[in-house]
Symmetry: D2
Subunit: 139 residues, 4 copies
């Protein structure tokens, strides 16, 4: 991988329309670990006004993919992801902390915690994991 | 449950800001089975222009929740959901077909297939499942 | 793949010590679909005398792997599997019906239903899925 | 819960036939955290001689259930569990370290790491999680 991992992750994030709509912000980026934040906006709410489970999943899946990309580059596809909804996701801002659990030549296992932040206080609201496939080089 | 299940599901769908932004449309609704559609829009894209995995998850999780609500009413919370990304989600429209696998007093197991539709042709692009908790009545 | 799929699956099943201890029996085998049975034995019980969740998972994971092997051969590893425990698994015999949802060059998505059989009556007791990685050929 | 959590967990472990066959041993037990070990035996092998994925799942699911029981007592059922197979599970002994991620009145979220031990060296071979339902008191 020639490109600097932080530059790579920021470039992918900027190139995705949905990430821009969400306001996804790459807060930190180290080998195998990424923090991704999103501000609350009312268009992101489910029926009771909490962050929609789809956006909980979007934050987790995206942060996991970025964490994997810091180690193996951009030729990755999410094959499977799962989300545990621990508490209602209510806050002014949301922060996903993703890490690579096990990198590999063909696949990368990742995990993530999602925090809601209200008046500076972090609360764990969801956990999740993503299994990514490393795309084979074209023959 | 006093309210008609279709009316209930349409009312919940209309009351969620994110569902409205996505353009989620309840196409059909029967006891234990719901079809939920979403038109493509470019703000829904990931970096390569396919439907973002977060929205794949949002369609699956929402359709599963609605299918459960047709049987047990609105006092439900998603505890866990998972998504298998089978193919790139590219199409003019997306259709989630969710069904209840096993209803229960304390929890409801559901499953879902997500199809991309291009020029009238359906293609299976993802599968997923959601485990919902039936909220206990207040004492 | 030179070997007949049924012969391949039966050969793998016979070569695994744990499968023999469990009494796993390949009941049927078609391209992309396998049925695997196990008789009840009391050493297979959890504390309440039902089939142990680990054996529910073993039946599902094994049947899914066999279904995948009928299409892509034996060079496979399970990367992820999950199990939904719908009902207590009580019966004289258990039957896992697994199918390939989406085969691929690098990975195979599968799904499975597990039935308990008592006096000839089948009852769905669990569902599950396995994501398998196709091992790359050695260079 | 009147019974001491360690005594409770050891009692459940001793009462399950499959746990005894596996040789499951409760190594440590604290509020919300349990370590469960199993010695290798050749009857536990899959076709290549590694620990069978079903037993990987059995260790994870059982350790997670015990961790939950230390906080909420024995009235628990596993609703969903999942396993990530990171590396071939080869060793003289296996150790599952489970912890409660979020306890609740109706459900308990848990997570687990599974280590293979060879000549005193621990290697992470799998991760997993279990979502347990707290059974409602009979009316």
């Amino acid at each position: 991988m020639d490109e600097d991992p932080t530059a790579l992750v920021r470039r992918i994030n900027a190139s995705a329309e949905f990430n821009r709509w969400c306001g996804f912000d790459v807060v930190s980026c180290a080998p195998g670990a990424v923090e991704l934040a999103m501000p609350w906006r009312k268009e992101a709410g489910q029926y009771a006004g909490f962050l929609h489970a789809g956006l909980v999943g979007a934050l987790i899946d995206t942060a996991c993919g970025f964490a994997a990309a810091t180690l193996v580059g951009p030729r990755l596809l999410a094959a499977h992801f799962s989300v545990n909804c621990l508490r209602p996701a209510a806050g002014q801002r949301f922060l996903a902390r993703a890490r690579v659990v096990k990198p590999g030549r063909q696949q990368v296992f990742t995990a993530c915690e999602l925090y809601a932040i209200e008046d500076g206080v972090e609360k764990l609201v969801a956990t999740g994991e993503t299994l990514l496939t490393v795309l084979a080089k074209e023959a």
